[in-house]
């Protein structure tokens, strides 16, 4: 298979996953804003920082306001992570790899793009926001379903899966980091009701409340939430789960091709980290620092995969 095709599949899947996760980030911000304690929390600024799209926004709009941030993250063509840009990116990559995906997958991607172009053609009002965010999630679920149901389990599928889980790991890490950026009124508020509400919101935004309850009961404890989102082997959005999937798929490629590359060593090391550090060690080290290091390791791995499988010249 062409290196370019492998890259196209990888980025098609990453972009789709990103569109969904950007929608989740917006939902997180909206919920935190709706449940805040009244005074001056800067939840929208935190969302921008966690999504790493702050500087671009600041250059264009200055101070973050609810409407401007939501528009920036949903529709702005200057924001490479906006839902619209991500969906366009997914579709144009799908066009490039048209011969490597099934007709079902292509049509799912194409209709996702058509529907979202319509839905995002103009500013989304606060009242319409939940419906639009749902639509984004549903459309990306349809594509995932088409991929799952119709693609051969071969190298094409492997590259798409690697893209999906790389992006999801990246986004879960960023969503956890939102909590770092959302300021509490004072240090005294750690462990307060507000603190807990924010943690719960993080859970909700990764569709993790139910799963968390089953594993840890009704009590919201930050350490257990982090454990759930970083280490849980059953939670399909946890860092450990996502990296495990990336490792599996990279290993399938190694078996098929009969060759291992530096990216295989990197993913092993990353998975080892999750296995060897428990959540107390993470909090002792500093959750934010830990997340930042994970993000940078993921970025390095992505670049290594591009080189090892010759996505570009």
């Amino acid at each position: 298979m062409l290196g370019k095709t492998a890259g196209g599949l990888y980025w098609m899947a990453r972009n789709l996953e990103r569109s969904e996760n950007t929608a989740r980030m917006i939902e997180t911000g909206q919920r935190i804003a709706l449940t805040r304690a009244g005074d001056t929390t800067d939840e929208w600024g935190s969302i921008l920082r966690a999504a790493a799209v702050g500087p671009g926004f600041a250059a264009k709009h200055g101070e973050p306001t609810r409407d401007a941030v939501i528009d920036w993250m949903l529709r702005d063509k200057d924001n490479p992570s906006s839902v619209l840009r991500a969906v366009e990116g997914a579709r144009s990559n799908a066009r490039v790899v048209r011969t490597a995906i099934t007709e079902d997958v292509w049509e799912a991607v194409n209709s996702c793009w058509m529907r979202l172009c319509d839905a995002l053609a103009r500013k989304v009002s606060e009242r319409d926001l939940p419906r639009v965010l749902d639509l984004i999630r549903h459309r990306s679920a349809l594509v995932r379903g088409a991929m799952h149901g119709t693609m051969l389990r071969n190298e094409c599928y492997d590259f798409a899966r690697i893209g999906t889980f790389m992006e999801r790991a990246d986004n879960t890490a960023r969503i956890i980091d939102v909590k770092y950026y959302v300021l509490l009124p004072s240090a005294m508020a750690v462990g307060s009701r507000l603190d807990n509400v924010q943690w719960e919101t993080i859970l909700r935004s990764v569709s993790g409340e139910g799963g968390y309850r089953m594993s840890y009961g009704h009590q919201v404890r930050p350490r257990e939430i982090v454990k759930f989102l970083v280490h849980d082997r059953q939670m399909p959005r946890s860092l450990s789960f996502c990296c495990g999937k990336v490792r599996d798929n990279l290993n399938y490629l190694a078996t098929d091709y009969g060759a291992r590359h530096p990216c295989h060593d990197q993913i092993e090391a990353l998975c080892q980290r999750f296995a060897s550090q428990d959540v107390d060690a993470i909090f002792d080290y500093g959750l934010h620092e830990y997340i930042q290091e994970t993000l940078s390791a993921l970025g390095g791995l992505s670049r290594q995969i591009e080189v090892d499988y010759r996505f570009y010249e």
Binding site: M1, L2, G3, K4, R98, T99, E107, N110, R310
Partner: protein, 496 residues
């Protein structure tokens, strides 16, 4: 008045006034209705079915077809408009139907013509017997922009120059077909032929169980086989075929991806390829792998920045040298453009006769070469009746349709003709046949043309029964190009 360069003038030319007034189309040959009343034989079964259909249901079907096309992404990009703007080519649900007998005759003519084109190409890149015999002037070859000196003496694998040909035909009467243009470089539109049929099969399955229509779906398989049959000497093992596209912003990208997908081969761009150990190889996830046959949809000029346009980012540096050394087959071969050049077109009857020893079965449209002073004088005198085309133009751009032109257009063309006469040819305005479209007001006749697709390999020639019917959707219009508001129809060739 000088004679136009063709054996006989067409019998049913429309007068300038008729075409200009956009009026009733009774003076044209309609392929569905004899004298506007009784159905012609090929349309009888279809006509009976149509009578029994509820127009409201058909209108819903028409919309369904548009949605299907959009969902499948069968779109084309329009040059000169916002980047990545994609449009649908309008599809009309009324099929264009050709009888078995009509088709047989066409096939004989097409085969003869394509055989002559390949012989002509071989000759002009070798001994140039046709020039020596005085049948085509030397200047027409040597000074032609489409003539590629780098091809002199080159023997393409299997002896095939044009692997894929599209012959544009128009009809003016029951038995009168004219070749309007030969597409010997990179004919496009075959994906529409295939998807139009797919769409009709999905929407009106009952039609196909009652009428015996010859299938077109074998095309991708035949294409793959015929390309593989032209593998170069350097091939080891089963031939590796790939399609070369300029990329997703090309107007025909959908078709490139479609054909690669249906053939089950890789779709590559210039930056996926490089020359490795004397072969053209593609960058795979496991390193470079050689390609044997490249169905390239990139023009000659852009295919090799080392040998041709150095600015090109679409091609592969050095591919021409590999080609000449027998390391790869290019389909179609470089330099085939000379055979579909509009100036050469006027010599086609001679070319056919010269190489096949037979009279041409398909007629040429009479053509005045404006490079000849007498012809130019005639053309200038009769501009409002004629169609004037640029010699190297395509896609319906840069042409004048006299009867439909404004005074200003005519003056402008007169100026252009005087300034560069050699750049133009002129033809009478043909009364193209009509086939009805399904319009809001019911059936309405519109002008059509036909592009059948021909595959050539050392094993023989394969003409897909059908082709692309393009239809001018505007009432009275004679321009069928998709870039100029034309649409398409499914084309049926009936079983005997």
């Amino acid at each position: 008045m000088p004679e136009p360069a063709a054996e006989s003038p067409p019998t049913r030319l429309c007068s300038a006034t008729q075409a200009a007034q956009n009026g009733p189309m009774g003076s044209y040959f309609d392929e569905m209705w004899d004298d506007g009343e009784s159905l012609r034989a090929p349309y009888r079964e279809f006509g009976a079915w149509f009578e029994g259909e509820d127009p409201a249901r058909l209108r819903a079907k028409q919309r369904e077809a548009d949605d299907l096309f959009r969902l499948m992404g069968i779109t084309f990009n329009v040059y000169g408009r916002a980047e990545a703007e994609e449009r649908l080519i309008p599809f009309d649900i009324i099929p264009r139907i050709i009888s078995a007998r009509e088709w047989q005759k066409l096939c004989r003519g097409i085969e003869q013509r394509v055989r002559a084109i390949n012989a002509f190409l071989h000759d002009i890149y070798h001994r140039q017997e046709i020039v020596r015999a005085g049948r085509v002037p030397e200047a027409m070859i040597a000074r032609n922009e489409a003539f590629l000196p780098k091809m002199i003496g080159v023997n393409p694998p299997g002896g095939v120059y044009t692997h894929i040909v599209g012959i544009d035909l128009v009809r003016t009467g029951p038995d009168e077909f004219y070749v309007l243009e030969d597409n010997a470089r990179t004919p496009s539109g075959v994906s529409y032929m295939l998807e139009n049929r797919e769409t009709m099969l999905q929407m009106f399955p009952e039609l196909f169980s009652q009428t015996r229509v010859r299938p077109v779906s074998g095309y991708p398989r035949h294409l793959q086989r015929s390309l593989a049959a032209c593998a170069p000497p350097a091939t080891t093992g089963p031939p590796c075929v790939a399609v070369l596209t300029p990329g997703i912003y090309n107007s025909a990208y959908f078709e490139h991806a479609f054909l690669a997908d249906k053939m089950g081969v890789e779709l590559v761009e210039g930056h996926d390829l490089r020359v490795v150990d004397g072969r053209v190889a593609m960058r795979t996830t496991q390193g470079y792998r050689p390609i044997d046959v490249l169905y390239r949809r990139v023009d000659d000029e852009f295919i090799d920045p080392l040998n041709f346009n150095p600015e090109s980012a679409l091609g592969v540096p050095g591919i021409m040298d590999v080609y000449r050394a027998g390391g790869i087959t290019l389909a179609n071969a470089p330099g085939t453009g000379i055979a579909d050049d509009k100036a050469i077109y006027s010599y086609m009857p001679d070319i056919v006769e010269f190489y096949t020893g037979e009279k041409a079965i398909l007629q040429n449209v009479p053509t005045w070469r404006c490079s000849e002073p007498e012809a130019l004088a005639y053309v200038l005198d009769h501009l409002p009746e004629l169609v004037v085309k640029e010699v190297h133009g395509s896609g319906g751009y840069g042409m004048l349709i006299g009867p439909a032109a404004t005074k200003k257009d005519l003056r402008e063309f007169e100026r252009k003709l005087r300034a560069r006469p050699g750049n133009y040819i002129a033809q009478p305005t043909l009364s193209l046949s009509t086939v009805p479209i399904f319009s809001r007001a019911g059936l309405a006749p519109r002008h059509v043309d036909l592009r059948p697709f021909v595959l050539v390999s050392p094993e023989g020639m394969e003409i897909t029964p059908g082709g692309l019917t393009r239809v001018a959707l505007k009432k009275g219009s004679l321009v069928v190009n998709s870039s100029q508001g034309g649409g398409t129809k499914d084309t049926w060739v009936l079983e005997e």
